[in-house]
């Protein structure tokens, strides 16, 4: 069992998401940084979509009540197992009674905002409608359909010791697959239905401005601050399906990017959509930081998707090879 020691507003159990129920009104949920969640799981020999804890408020601490292999990925939060430092994107072995603490991410060469605590076998919360992700609005999935609280106890799927080597890590994808423009995290965007109905100035601003991530940004959506984006004429739309990554422009002209807990339908004008392969970059961008949008083509979006797939496949293969050698 793993016990939550800290007051942890907004920490939730997540996997890679719940799919196929948008037409029942159920959004996908899932990790804001799916690469980090998958990487932590692959380090431990889990399936890539095993359930982990997504931490977004720090400090965060858990205690292992039994020996268990774990991995910490995502933002560098100076993790410690008891008094021993644990490197970022690293797998370790906890003994019974050990506590793992994560501090607020700061400094370093890449600042993320969300960390993932993975355990051997994944967190054994019951799957609901095909996923272990927490569906906050529907109050199901994850741990009792809600954010974690101090004192909660979660079971690991494969606790124990020596099942697989630990003590090694991964190069974070921010370095394996960097994407920056003029010192800012960049995300690639495909124009959406109403793109052409915005002014030329709006188009120029979309691609050239730095967009600040405001404090009103969470798992539901990121509200950005920057130049106002205006349509050439008022736009009224009928409700339609939307997905994480959609950049909506409400009447005020300031973009809202839908994120993993977004509702599956909407009606605000859409100027573009952040491609699936880059959503993790946004999921890790801290409040107060700035991002840039980069126009891309369908072929580039497909290539980016395949690049992240290849990266995950390589991580899986090499982690398994390393585990076999038992070093």
């Amino acid at each position: 069992m793993i016990e939550i020691l800290s007051e942890t507003p907004l920490a939730t159990v997540q996997d890679l998401g719940r799919f196929g129920l948008l037409n029942q009104g159920v959004g996908t949920s899932g990790a804001m940084d799916p690469l980090a969640l998958a990487a932590g799981n692959l380090l431990l020999g889990n399936e890539a979509d095993a359930a982990a804890i997504e931490v977004q408020v720090f400090p965060f601490a858990v205690r292992f009540h039994e020996p268990c292999a774990f991995a910490v990925t995502g933002a560098d939060c100076a993790a410690r197992l008891q008094d021993q430092p644990v490197l970022p994107w690293w797998a370790g072995q906890a003994a019974a009674g050990d506590s793992l603490t994560l501090r607020r991410p700061e400094g370093g060469t890449w600042r993320g905002s969300r960390a993932y605590v993975c355990v051997a076998g994944g967190f054994a919360v019951p799957p609901v409608l095909g996923s272990r992700s927490t569906q906050l609005r529907g109050a199901f999935g994850g741990h009792e359909g809600r954010a974690l609280r101090q004192g909660d106890r979660l079971a690991a799927g494969a606790p124990g010791t020596g099942n697989r080597p630990t003590g090694f890590g991964l190069v974070p994808p921010a370095f394996a697959m960097p994407l920056q423009r003029e010192g800012c995290t960049a995300v690639r965007v495909l124009p959406a239905a109403e793109y052409e109905r915005f002014t030329k100035a709006a188009h120029e601003a979309l691609w050239s401005a730095e967009w600040k991530i405001t404090p009103h940004s969470d798992r539901y959506g990121y509200r950005l601050a920057g130049p106002s984006l205006r349509p050439t004429a008022p736009i009224e739309l009928r409700s339609h399906g939307i997905v994480p990554g959609v950049i909506q422009i409400p009447h005020g002209g300031q973009p809202i990017v839908q994120m993993r807990d977004a509702q599956p339908s909407g009606g605000y004008p859409k100027i573009g959509t952040v491609i699936e392969a880059d959503l993790w970059r946004l999921g890790q961008a801290p409040i107060g930081s700035r991002i840039r949008f980069v126009a891309c083509t369908w072929d580039e979006a497909v290539a980016a998707f395949e690049e992240t797939e290849r990266w995950a496949a390589r991580v899986r293969r090499l982690a398994a090879l390393h585990a076999e050698r038992g070093t």
Partner: protein
């Protein structure tokens, strides 16, 4: 190691981007160093008996890129002069997406870093020189 085998390794090395390969065995040390498209082979006599030596050369367990610091960190994991316990991570060996620890086999003081940060190293390449603390046994992890 028979020289024919060394030449075979040299031929293999010529097809890689590995600059330097050091092979240690009981009867000596073989160094293969790439010079342009050729690979120079040099052989040294048997090293001094290790029992008495306090100097420990931590070598690469595999081909890879040696890192002094974690990619997410500004600061190196250790600096020359640092005192480290056995098992402390001195550097990282990057193999594709994997990061493997290069750990101190014994407690000691970091004497020097043989390989530069981000240097491509071969199996057995010297990475870190460690001056073992007197009287400490081997209790590496």
């Amino acid at each position: 190691m028979p020289i024919a085998e060394a030449e075979q390794i040299a031929a293999w090395l010529a097809g890689t981007d590995i600059e330097f390969l050091e092979l240690r065995s009981a009867d000596g040390c073989l160094t293969l160093r790439r010079q342009g498209n050729d690979v120079a082979i040099s052989r040294e006599g048997a090293p001094a008996p290790q029992e008495a030596a306090r100097e420990i050369t931590v070598t690469a367990p595999s081909v890879g890129v040696f890192l002094h610091r974690h990619p997410l960190r500004d600061a190196p994991l250790v600096r020359p002069g640092d005192t480290v316990p056995a098992g402390q991570i001195l550097g990282l060996l990057c193999i594709g997406p994997l990061l493997l620890p290069v750990a101190a086999p014994r407690a000691g003081t970091v004497a020097r870093m043989w390989a530069a940060h981000e240097e491509v190293v071969g199996f057995g390449s010297p990475l870190v020189e460690l001056l073992a603390t007197e009287g400490t046994g081997d209790h590496g992890h």
